[in-house]
Amino acid sequence: MKSTLIIVAVIALLAIWFIASYNKLIRLNISADESFAQIEVQLKRRADLIPNLVETVKGYASHEKTTLDAVISARAKATSATGVADVAAADGQLTTALRGLLAVAESYPDLKASANFLSLQEELSTTENKVAFARQFYNDTIRSLNQAVKTFPSGLFAGVAKVSARAFYEIENAADRNVPNVKF
């Protein structure tokens, strides 16, 4: 009688542990999806701001063609990218191009003073921050997910839960990419 009770208790504990580990993996996987969706929402918002920004800058500095074109082509790439790695790469390029455009704007006092540009600048900087925070949140989630998948014992259930380790959202560092080739 007593031993039956012990066996039942052990099985019950094992079942609880199994369910908890399984649910943890599923929860992490869902929040990874959600946080990637948040990055995409913010990237879309930023892409939507760009045509307006380009038009405004054109009105004051139409001859800054190279800078404007760089932004437009980076935006086109960013809106068509899919998958974590591609989205991240296009995001990095667009960020660099936008910085270039805002730096150019510095030398046009009329542009800098225009109300339209000021409100665009605020929208752009908040969206830039939101993209960065969404990225940070996504990477933190992926870190816990990968840890759970790759460590014992939670990793035992990764196969059953159909959850696997996922890629971090890494944007290429603009400064690294611009390192010139050194020739001797």
């Binding site: 948040q38 913010q42 605020e122 900087s125 908040t126 921050n129 939101k130 925070f133 940070q136 949140f137």
Partner: protein
């Protein structure tokens, strides 16, 4: 986890008071314990459950919509994305002192409020730090923690008050019990416990509040990864000597900068760690970003 220890200390204190009461008055006095705890529970948990609406009335905060201050909402949204929390209600308090607070029984009922002055004096990064600090209180469920602390402190206060009255009027005391228990040392000690317990409870409550403030600073940096923003914000608060026009001391602990600092008897009774100390910790984080 230190908060947990302090809360356990509160629990031990309640037990000590009950023990002292039983020694002094006899076993029948134990019946007032549920009464005192009940009183404290009802008053504190009422204010905990309705904390968002109650604090609005006590501070005169007015809830605003996005189009009334889109820039502030942008900042709040940024911190929400960084923390994964839901967008809280945002409110404004008409006041000439820079300050801010957060309340609400859970993240779904969170409210963060800013004085009109803090929005004028702080730049984007500083405000972001302040918002992150407030959202940390929401994430760490500090309204709940302070409600638990206030309940126990309140129960102890009511208990000691009732017992002291009973001693003076000698009414309800059980004669038989009392005569069986005439050890004079025990009586003196239990009397001391009854007198000192409310003060000890207040000290513990303040210690818990200070711990939660430091924790909120640390959590804020985990959200924004920008210690400089919050550090500069605290320096702005330090440089400003005005304090919010408090309608009630009961809500003093919820502000980012304590409105009672000047009046505080000593550091032990203040609800916030000193600003210099908080700034020094943040400076240290800036210097050693990997810690």
């Amino acid at each position: 986890m230190k908060t947990f220890g302090l809360l356990a200390g509160m629990g031990a204190l309640v037990w000590l008071v009950v023990f002292a009461a039983m020694t002094y008055m006899g076993k029948s006095s134990a019946m007032i314990v549920p009464v005192a705890v009940g009183f404290a529970l009802i008053s504190v948990w009422g204010s905990y459950y309705f904390s968002d609406s109650l604090v609005i009335t006590m501070t005169g905060a007015k809830i605003i919509e996005r189009d009334e201050n889109p820039e502030l909402f942008n900042l709040v949204e940024e911190v929400c994305i960084a923390s994964g929390l839901k967008l809280p209600k945002v409110a404004i308090v008409q006041d000439s002192a820079p300050n801010a607070f957060a309340t609400g029984r859970n993240p779904e009922h969170a409210l963060i409020a800013f004085t009109t002055r803090i929005l004028e004096v702080m730049d984007r990064d500083e405000l972001q730090g302040v918002i992150a600090h407030e959202m940390s209180h929401v994430a760490n469920r500090d309204t709940l923690v302070s409600a638990v602390a206030a309940t126990t402190a309140g129960a102890i206060a009511i208990l000691s008050d009732m017992l002291t009255r009973m001693m003076i009027f000698g009414g309800m005391g059980d004669r038989d019990d009392r005569e069986n228990n005439q050890n004079p040392i025990a009586i003196v000690v239990s009397l001391l416990v009854l007198i000192l317990a409310p003060i000890a409870a207040l000290l513990l409550k303040s210690a818990i509040s200070r711990k939660r403030e430091s924790l909120a600073d640390a959590t804020a940096i985990a959200f924004t990864r920008n210690p400089a923003g919050l550090r500069k914000a605290l320096e702005v608060l330090q440089a400003d000597s005005t304090v919010v026009r408090q309608k009630s001391n009961a809500v003093a602990h919820i502000w980012i900068e304590s409105p009672l600092d000047g009046k505080s008897v000593s550091k032990l009774f203040s609800t916030h760690p000193p600003l210099e100390e908080r700034i020094a910790i943040l400076r240290n984080m800036e210097a050693n970003p990997l810690n």
